[in-house]
């Protein structure tokens, strides 16, 4: 420290440090640079008055402008909602059966449905809509539908839910439990017959007879299922609760039957339309055959 001296060639004082013979000059700052420092300090003080800055015991200073990040978010969200208003109005007016004709609107509906799905549906059906076999949540990507897979039917299922009390139009049915009705041998024979419908086991006459007596009224003669009662197809490769003989036997004795909330009271019709379009777009959607008239649907805009 005490080694300060004036450097001969430059006439500048050194800072007094020396590293292997290299010394540092104590060159003064240019004045404008000093002013830049002062300006920065003034800016920082002004900023801390205008914006929230100083931490206090419970919260912090609010700032003169009253800016908050929550307020900013609310503002951004309402701007985004405003931007979607026209799309939502169009969606409200178009009957869902005709949505496929307007491919641009369909794309927007699918995108909006994707977002709504993540918020409302992914808890059970998974973020990729692949469901869960162990938990019994249906996979929405495939082409196997319990209640029907055209876009209108999907919308109805979404609106009224499945097995919901208090909704007259809810999808409802019940499979009787056969626990105690059949002995273990009969259960095994029936399970084997059901597997044989999709070629996964050899047919057997005992199982076929039991199936004809007890099951065909809902599941059909060949196990083709019945969508009016939500009876699953049994002659395909897809099993909601598992496709092994034991899993099928368990389902015969103690049937599990899925439920879904009726979204009609929770989500507005436009969001449900978008969700239906999204689910329909996942790759297993079926074509709609009827053509409906324009209904006079009031415009619902999210508050």
């Amino acid at each position: 420290m005490a080694n300060k001296h004036v450097d001969q060639p430059t006439g500048t004082e050194t800072v007094g440090h020396e590293w292997d013979g290299i010394e540092e000059l104590d060159t003064p700052l240019p004045r404008w640079w000093l002013w830049t420092f002062y300006l920065c300090i003034a800016f920082a003080l002004g900023y801390s008055v205008v914006y929230p800055a100083w931490p206090m015991l419970n919260s912090g200073t609010q700032g003169l402008l009253g800016w908050t990040s929550r307020g900013q978010l609310a503002k951004d969200m309402s701007v985004s909602d405003q931007a979607h208003t026209s799309m939502r109005e169009l969606l409200a007016r178009i009957p869902i059966e005709r949505l496929a004709d307007n491919s641009a609107l369909m794309k927007q509906a699918v995108a909006g449905g994707h977002a709504a799905f993540k918020v409302n549906c992914s808890q059970c059906h998974g973020s990729g809509a692949a469901g869960s076999q162990t938990l019994g949540y249906p996979n929405l990507n495939d082409d196997d539908w319990l209640w029907g897979g055209d876009i209108k039917t999907i919308e109805v299922t979404l609106t009224h839910g499945i097995r919901q009390h208090g909704d007259d139009k809810t999808r409802s049915s019940a499979m009787p439990p056969f626990e105690g009705v059949f002995n273990p041998g009969q259960i095994a024979a029936l399970s084997a017959h059901i597997l044989s419908l999709s070629g996964k086991a050899k047919p057997n006459s005992e199982g076929a007879a039991l199936f004809a007596q007890n099951c065909i009224s809902c599941h059909g003669i060949n196990g083709e299922g019945g969508r009016n009662v939500g009876a699953p197809r049994l002659n395909d490769a897809i099993w909601l609760y598992g496709g092994t003989s034991a899993e099928i036997g368990r389902q015969i004795q103690r049937p599990r039957m899925g439920v879904m909330p009726s979204w009609g009271g929770r989500l507005d019709p436009v969001t449900i339309k978008m969700l239906a379009a999204y689910v329909h777009s996942l790759g297993g959607g079926e074509d709609f055959v009827e053509v409906a008239k324009d209904p006079a649907v009031p415009v619902h805009v999210r508050p």
Binding site: D26, T27, P28, L29, W33, G128, N141, D142, S198, G284
Partner: protein
């Protein structure tokens, strides 16, 4: 201004002078080593002060070959800057017709016949690397020529200094005006001059935004108040920055703010061309009268201070190479003029390498200029620079204007269909880099029995090949479903894209088909 390098360079010089002291009567070794204390007062009047106030540079007008060259470079660089956005280039109906356009909104960079997409930004990175190595090349060959002639800070400072000269007169008049206390006249004079500064700044900032939008449209919108806020903000910011940096900061930018002088001082060596005061010839300095009296005791420098007065950064070149010297060579013009007037040979201050100086001081014949320029370092830089350029040109010429990227769905990775077949979903991005819509065919290869469909057609129309119409100069995102018969195992396969036009450009992209069979 005080840089460690200065010591070594000065020492080299001193050594040179000492080595030649025996043969030259004009330079005594003591004189060479002590001239700092002998001639220059300390640059900092009060050591230990917190700051140093700026001394305004009032550089004198000078004419000469280097000044004329500077005019020429200034005219060319300013012309390039202002004219380029107005050049047109026909690209057909689907692309803008501006020759050089950075279209940020659509993420396209147009440069004459070249069009660059964001994912090809490595071309721009390559250009920047070339610019960097180009600067190394220039530095190793001709020293700080960039600083002296082509740097925007230099060009605009020069421009503003000419404005000063035009309104306030030459050096002495400006110094007098500076000293005059503020009054009506001075306020008027300054207002007029600073308004001109603002106009120049505005033209500079205004020209900059032309590179980012269609220039005629932007000018029209700008004056009608309909241009994007970013255009006004950028123009305003650059206007103020130009006025601040070119009108007021000037040499302070070179001395305090710019990293380039520091980098250059590390890159210069004894073979770099520098503006050099030949101290063995000039020292000791003396007036003409003194020289007449004692011709053997004084050198060629008559201490007329012309080299200091014309300097745009206000340095004294006779102190040796320094960070403040941008090697604009105006001092060479000034000194040559004086030497011609007093009948001494030109080149007391001249472009010379330190090696040249040593040789010249020792009385050796001068090295030819081409030998100075072509030394191994410059050749190596040139080869690196040239090969990067060639590689980039090759890559640019050979790039395909058709492209495909494939992203398989991961959630869920596969989908079992009711007939036992397996479906995978992919997001395909079809790239059409031509400025016209093109039909492109996507084919699934290496997956027996597979068929593909997308959102617009159902599974009923699934086929191994699909044709898409890709809009001009755009990317088309397609969600494609590929279904393979039951029993297909997880395996790799390819999507092939083929443009259905005379170019028949084709690209194969490998991806994976995932199946439950392996689980």
């Amino acid at each position: 201004m005080s840089d460690p390098d200065e010591f070594s360079l000065n020492e080299t010089k001193a050594d040179t002078a000492a080595a030649t002291a025996g043969s030259s009567a004009t330079a005594a070794p003591e004189a060479a080593t002590q001239r700092h204390t002998a001639h220059e007062p300390s640059r900092i009047p009060l050591p230990g002060k917190l700051y140093e106030s700026r001394k305004t540079v009032h550089n004198k007008r000078i004419d000469g070959p280097f000044r004329r060259f500077k005019w020429l470079v200034m005219a060319i660089t300013l012309a390039i800057y202002y004219v380029t956005p107005w050049l047109r280039w026909d690209r057909g109906p689907y692309a803008p017709d501006q020759a050089v356009l950075i279209d940020l909104a659509h993420r396209r960079f147009y440069m004459f016949s070249i069009e660059i997409w964001p994912q090809e930004f490595y071309f721009v990175a390559g250009l920047l690397i070339m610019a960097g190595i180009g600067l190394f090349l220039v530095t190793s060959a001709v020293g700080r020529a960039w600083c002296g002639y082509a740097c925007p800070q230099t060009v605009w400072t020069d421009l503003f200094q000419h404005v000063d000269r035009f309104f306030d007169g030459d050096r002495n008049a400006r110094m007098r005006l500076d000293a005059v206390p503020w009054g009506v006249n001075k306020v008027l004079q300054r207002t007029v001059k600073w308004s001109i500064y603002l106009v120049i700044g505005f033209w500079t900032g205004g020209a900059w935004i032309m590179y980012f939008a269609d220039a005629p449209t932007l000018v029209h919108d700008f004056w009608r108040g309909e241009a994007a806020p970013a255009a006004y903000i950028t123009a305003a910011f650059l206007t103020l920055a130009t006025v601040a940096l070119g009108g007021f900061m000037r040499e302070q930018v070179c001395i305090y703010m710019c990293p380039w002088p520091r980098i250059q001082s590390a890159m210069l060596d004894e073979r770099s061309l520098l503006v050099t005061y030949k101290d063995w010839r000039g020292e000791p300095r003396g007036s003409l009268k003194k020289a007449e009296r004692e011709p053997d005791k004084v050198g060629d420098c008559i201490d007329c201070m012309q080299c200091v007065q014309v300097c745009p950064t206000g340095i004294d070149i006779r102190e040796g190479p320094q960070i403040g010297c941008i090697t604009c060579a105006l001092c060479i013009d000034a000194c040559d003029k004086v030497m011609a007037e007093i009948g001494r040979p030109r080149g007391l201050i001249d472009y010379a390498t330190l090696e040249d100086c040593r040789a010249e001081a020792a009385g050796l014949p001068p090295k030819p200029v081409w030998k100075t320029l072509l030394h191994p370092r410059t050749i190596a830089y040139f080869l690196i620079w040239g090969s990067i350029g060639l590689v980039m040109l090759f890559a640019l010429g050979n790039r395909s204007h058709t492209g495909l990227t494939v992203a398989p769905d991961r959630n869920p990775p596969f989908m079992l269909m009711s007939d036992g077949s397996v479906r995978n979903a992919y997001t395909l991005r079809l790239r059409n880099m031509e400025s016209r819509p093109r039909k492109m065919e996507i084919a699934v290869e290496g997956l027996p029995g597979a068929a593909m469909w997308d959102e617009t057609i159902g599974r009923a129309q699934a086929a191994p090949k699909l044709v898409f119409e890709v809009p001009a100069d755009q990317l088309l995102a397609v969600r494609a479903y590929v279904v393979a018969p039951a029993g297909t195992a997880t395996k790799d396969f390819n999507f092939r894209i083929t443009s259905l036009d005379e170019q028949r450009e084709s690209e194969e992209v490998g991806t994976k088909f995932t199946s439950p069979e392996d689980e």
